[in-house]
């Protein structure tokens, strides 16, 4: 009995470790390839560790195309979206969670239903609209919609706000406070963790977005990192070592942000799944 339990424990660990290898190996392979010479990368059988480490791949990759500019562009878009997402979704979520007004249920239902709608259905008219407004090749189509709040963010925050005891509001109303005071003085200070979650997801969304920039930006000087990376691939497809270095640079900020906010990420995902 004891022995068979020991065996099954070892099997479980073995499967988990195998899964971890599957998750980490591609990332390891990326970093390993990014530091090899163009000769060594083609060696068969493949080497696991680069020798020597060629860090100059990074400077070479970053100077081949204007990565610094792409980085700045991406940062501009990401930061603008982040601020907008935080403001509009916390306002909306507060209203849907704690204020009563006619039509609230209807609009909240609409909001939830919109999450099921495939993006392709709205993409074409939205594109035509921005084109008529003469805003193609600007960041407005990438940023402005976020300022109207995303369904996902509002839903996530609303779940949290709904859990804050209502007595707090009632007491504040008795003291003569209005909804705005309650929002600003009670709700916001209590909701730092979910706001961090939304901030992280918003950062991720804009940083990783590919379809948006692909459709709306057509001048190289306005490109984001995601687009720049794709351009790099089409221009230097045979230079794997440089492509891998460039990819690593695009991934690195996301990984850093992830490790800083790890706890909140897991919390946020958990919340979405559980309330589904």
């Amino acid at each position: 009995m004891r022995k068979s339990r020991r065996v099954s424990q070892i099997i479980v660990y073995a499967i988990l470790i195998l899964g971890s290898v599957f998750c980490l190996l591609p990332l390891f392979w990326l970093v390993r390839s990014s530091m090899m010479s163009s000769m060594q990368i083609f060696e068969m059988p493949p080497k696991w560790i680069p020798s020597p480490f060629r860090f100059q791949n990074y400077t070479e990759a970053l100077t081949t195309i204007d990565f610094l500019r792409f980085f700045r562009n991406t940062l501009t878009i990401t930061a603008s979206c982040l601020i907008g997402a935080l403001i509009s979704s916390s306002l909306g979520a507060y209203s849907y969670a704690r204020l009563d007004w006619p039509g609230k249920k209807f609009f909240f239902g609409l909001l939830l239903a919109s999450m099921m709608l495939p993006g392709a259905v709205t993409l074409i008219p939205t594109f035509i609209g921005w084109r008529l407004a003469d805003l193609i090749n600007t960041y407005v189509p990438l940023i402005l919609p976020v300022w109207f709040g995303s369904a996902f963010d509002i839903f996530l925050l609303r779940q949290f706000y709904a859990g804050i005891p209502r007595d707090l509001d009632e007491a504040a109303y008795v003291d003569g406070a209005g909804p705005w005071t309650i929002f600003w003085r009670i709700i916001i200070p209590l909701s730092k963790p979910p706001l961090i979650v939304i901030g992280l997801f918003s950062f991720m969304n804009s940083w990783n977005d590919f379809m948006g920039p692909l459709v709306y930006l057509n001048e190289e000087s306005k490109f984001t990192l995601a687009l720049g990376l794709q351009m790099f691939q089409s221009l230097h497809s045979a230079q794997w070592h440089l492509l891998m270095a460039a990819s690593t640079v695009v991934i690195l900020p996301v990984i850093i942000v992830f490790f800083i906010g790890q706890r909140y990420f897991i919390e946020g995902i958990t919340l979405t799944g559980m309330k589904g």
Binding site: T122, F127, P179, M274
Partner: protein
């Protein structure tokens, strides 16, 4: 009374951005694209009403890529959704076992790939899949197995992209894990008292208690899988021989490379209707297999 009115006014004001947003960026475009789907509209000309011609052209095969992309996408969904659910459920279940140490380390490792930008992960996987120099073929060679052409063969391109997508299953695993942690321990304890073994506990407690979450992941996973796009654009451009011309990529190509906005709107609406039907079927069947605790 006055108080109530004040709250209602504030409520509407606070929700105004989101109401505007949904009108401007969801409802209006949705209706517009439905209208456009009945027009001949090539970005340069003014839209001309042509009835069901766009739809007819798709269904009668005048546009040879429609059925092709439908088939390719269904193949992807049918492989990816069940496989993704099974793999991530097993991962979460094993991670949740009591004796496992370093849970948070494993959890981080399993989630890590999910945060990698799709463009970058596509670059990594093209490289891993490379027929001459890729890691996977070197493995196969080392094991004396025949090598594969992965993304470069019509037969293996979709399964290859499925394998890649399994790499990014992190959030599904986390959701399952959270669900498993919510199963009351008292149920298992009662089962042990009744003499149930591991298999019976799994079948009669874990699975039924997890059905709402399996259902959630099934719906979200299917909606997501129908919309696979970036991987195809970067890794294969729909090739070889349109074997990875996924539906969303087909829409993108029609609209933004060929400028056929009317036709592309019709294609997009068909996707919407397919997703509605599939979700409706899932909801219908859910009554027979999804177990909600509150109903007991």
């Amino acid at each position: 009374m006055l108080h109530k009115r004040r709250i209602a006014v504030a409520g509407i004001l606070f929700a105004l951005p989101s109401i505007f947003g949904i009108m401007l960026f969801v409802i209006l475009p949705m209706l517009t694209s439905l209208l456009l789907s009945f027009t001949d509209y090539r970005i340069v000309n003014t839209p001309k009403f042509i009835g069901f011609t766009n739809y007819k052209r798709l269904f009668d095969g005048t546009d040879p890529y429609f059925y092709n992309s439908l088939w390719v996408t269904f193949k992807y969904v049918i492989l990816r959704v069940p496989l993704g659910l099974i793999v991530s459920f097993i991962a979460a279940f094993l991670l949740n076992m009591e004796f496992i140490r370093g849970k948070s380390v494993f959890r981080t490792i399993f989630y890590l790939p999910a945060i990698v930008p799709a463009v970058a992960s596509s670059m990594i996987w093209i490289w891993l899949f490379s027929p001459d120099l890729g890691l996977f073929n070197s493995f196969l060679e080392a094991l004396n197995l025949p090598t594969l052409n992965w993304l470069y063969s019509e037969n293996t391109v979709v399964p290859s992209i499925v394998i890649m997508s399994l790499w990014g299953m992190g959030s599904t695993i986390i959701i399952f894990l959270a669900g498993l942690q919510g199963v009351p321990r008292s149920l298992y304890e009662a089962a042990i008292v009744d003499g149930a073994g591991a298999v019976r506990k799994f079948r009669h407690i874990t699975i039924p208690m997890m059905t709402p979450i399996i259902f959630f992941n099934l719906i979200m996973g299917s909606i997501g899988a129908f919309q696979v796009f970036t991987e195809a654009l970067i890794m294969t451009q729909g090739g070889p021989n349109n074997a990875s011309l996924f539906y969303n990529y087909y829409i993108y190509r029609q609209a933004f490379q060929f400028g056929e906005m009317g036709q592309a709107s019709a294609i997009a609406w068909i996707l919407f209707i397919i997703i509605l039907i599939v979700t409706a079927i899932f909801f219908r069947t859910s009554k027979t297999w999804v177990f909600y605790e509150s109903e007991v």
